[in-house]
């Protein structure tokens, strides 16, 4: 992967990479390093003295029930968001992949939620399902459901998952549609000639051929659920009631900002970094495999 035709210059290339390098070093590496260092330090309550405590912050975290619960909660949220959003998006994409009149219109009408910001998504959904003034809450009450996500932790969690999945439909839809359109028609036609009905064709031909896309989207959705739900959670529930909607990223934010516990917050950041690196690594291995196909 080398260009044959190149320029000769000693200083110019450094000048060209300098802006990017400066920003990366100042705003990425330096703070990441600080987080790692900070995670090994313990600060007294007034911030007057700090001492080096090795892995104490990490050990405290693993002993902390609340942290363990936040991990479980985050993974549960991620899978619930990914599975519900992926399955609905796949259904829509399969329908939109058919030769229908108005296909482009459907696509346009389905992709725009991608552009809606997470806090706006949060505001829209809390308004719809607000216990006292939400339009949908009225119907839920008429059905005999005691709906109050501001007090009931499970309902709050359901609300977050619903809102986060809603936003992600458009993104998944786009990639599924692209995936479906790259499946050769001849394969499907061959299956049809063999007498496979549409449902059977989908499960035995389309679905396996789509599995790389599904896997890619699963990883992307989990990363999305980790980080981009922050704005949704912050506008809808602030992690509450209790801690029922506090995810790992939200906990870093509250422990550091409100709790003033920088050592623990930094240790949490480092653990998150490791998780992201693993997820990104998986994503890349997959992409590489895809390229060589």
């Amino acid at each position: 992967m080398q260009k044959q035709a190149i320029f000769q210059s000693k200083l110019l290339p450094y000048a060209l990479v300098a802006p990017q390098l400066a920003i990366v070093l100042i705003f990425f590496y330096w703070p990441a390093l600080q987080a790692v260092i900070q995670s090994f330090l313990l600060q007294d309550a007034f911030g007057l003295s700090t001492s080096f405590v090795w892995f104490e912050n990490y050990l405290d975290l693993f002993k902390d029930r609340a942290y363990f619960e936040a991990i479980v909660r985050t993974f549960f949220f991620s899978f619930a968001i990914a599975v519900s959003s992926l399955s609905f998006a796949l259904l829509l994409a399969v329908m939109a992949d058919k030769p229908l009149r108005g296909g482009t219109l459907y696509r346009t009408l389905l992709i725009w939620p991608y552009a809606v910001a997470p806090p706006v998504v949060g505001v829209l959904w809390i308004f719809m399902l607000h216990p006292s003034l939400g339009v949908l809450s009225r119907y839920l009450r008429n059905l005999g459901i005691d709906w109050n996500p501001l007090l009931d932790g499970d309902q709050a969690a359901a609300l977050i998952i619903l809102a986060a999945a809603w936003k992600q439909i458009s993104y998944n839809f786009l990639f599924f549609l692209a995936g479906l359109q790259s499946i050769p028609r001849s394969v499907l036609e061959a299956a049809a000639i063999d007498g496979a009905r549409p449902m059977r064709r989908f499960w035995t031909v389309t679905f396996p051929l789509l599995s790389p896309t599904i896997f890619f989207l699963l990883v992307v959705n989990i990363v999305y659920a980790f980080f981009d739900t922050f704005g949704i959670i912050d506008t809808m529930t602030r992690g509450g009631p209790g801690k029922s909607t506090e995810t790992l990223v939200y906990k870093v934010y509250t422990d550091g900002l409100l709790g003033g516990n920088l050592g623990s917050s930094a240790a949490q950041s480092v653990i998150l970094m490791i998780m992201v690196i693993v997820l990104t690594g998986i994503q890349f291995r997959f992409v590489e495999r895809k390229v060589t196909y």
């Binding site: 992967m1 260009k3 035709a5 320029f7 110019l12 290339p13 060209l16 990479v17 802006p19 990017q20 390098l21 920003i23 990366v24 070093l25 705003f27 990425f28 703070p31 600080q34 987080a35 900070q38 259904l91 829509l92 329908m95 058919k98 229908l100 459907y106 389905l110 992709i111 725009w112 809606v116 910001a117 997470p118 806090p119 706006v120 998504v121 505001v123 829209l124 308004f127 719809m128 006292s132 003034l133 339009v135 809450s137 439909i169 458009s170 786009l174 028609r185 049809a192 980080f227 922050f230 912050d234 990223v249 870093v252 900002l257 930094a266 950041s269 998150l272 970094m273 992201v276 990104t280």
Partner: protein
Amino acid sequence: MVEEEGFRRYIAHIILWIGIAIVAFPVYLAFVASTQDNAVIANGQMSLLPGGHFLETYYQTIFVGTSGSTREPVGNMMLNSLVMALLIAVGKIAVSIISAYAIVYFRFPFRMAIFWIIFITLMLPVEVRIYPTYKIVADLHMLDSYAGLSLPLIASATATLLFRQFFMTVPDELLEASRIDGAGPFRFFWDTLLPLSRTNMAALFVILFILGWNQYLWPLLITTRDDMQTIQIGIRKMITTTDALTEWPIVMATAVLAMLPPVFVVVVMQKLFVRGLVETEK
């Protein structure tokens, strides 16, 4: 083509319209709420049809703001969001394209090391290094400034990778030809490479503009002054007061306004957007 019976096609149409309805309903409701009277909404008696307060609510939202905790007019917040989004999009494209140019078209010591240093940033979203980054921006006296809002978000591996990949596909003959014409590295970049990258840049711009416009956690931390607030932060502050005091029509009008620019960009630039998305993610 595989056979497609009539009734299956109807089912497809119906399912797609149900999907569109689910996707559009919250936004429709927000628009309806923004045109109604606050007292009616607070009673839980909101109707599903637009009311008669459209002009009045939007005038107040854009030019005056709420009477509650944040008194900043939304027009000003939108301006801040716009400046931030443009700085991030243009800045990212600018620093990425020149560093990709250096990495592809020059041989120099530490070239691959620099490439990897940039590449690894892919794995460090701002959320996981939030407090140390905040501290650095504070130490540099960049809190409550456009520089503080945009600089930490400008460096990105994805844009660099994308340009690098694209430059690799540019035939070597082009460089040889322009060299024979007497062009140096600047002329070649400006007259040949940049025009060729136009569609890539445009696609990337669409994605990055939306990314910048929708930033939340970062501006939440580093802006303290109301006049530096972005619209995403403003909207959250509007619902911090107790429920009874929340001016829902204004909140909903703000939500609608906050959606307009990015949704407009996606719908109008659909082709470029889809291209940019698939290229940057895969």
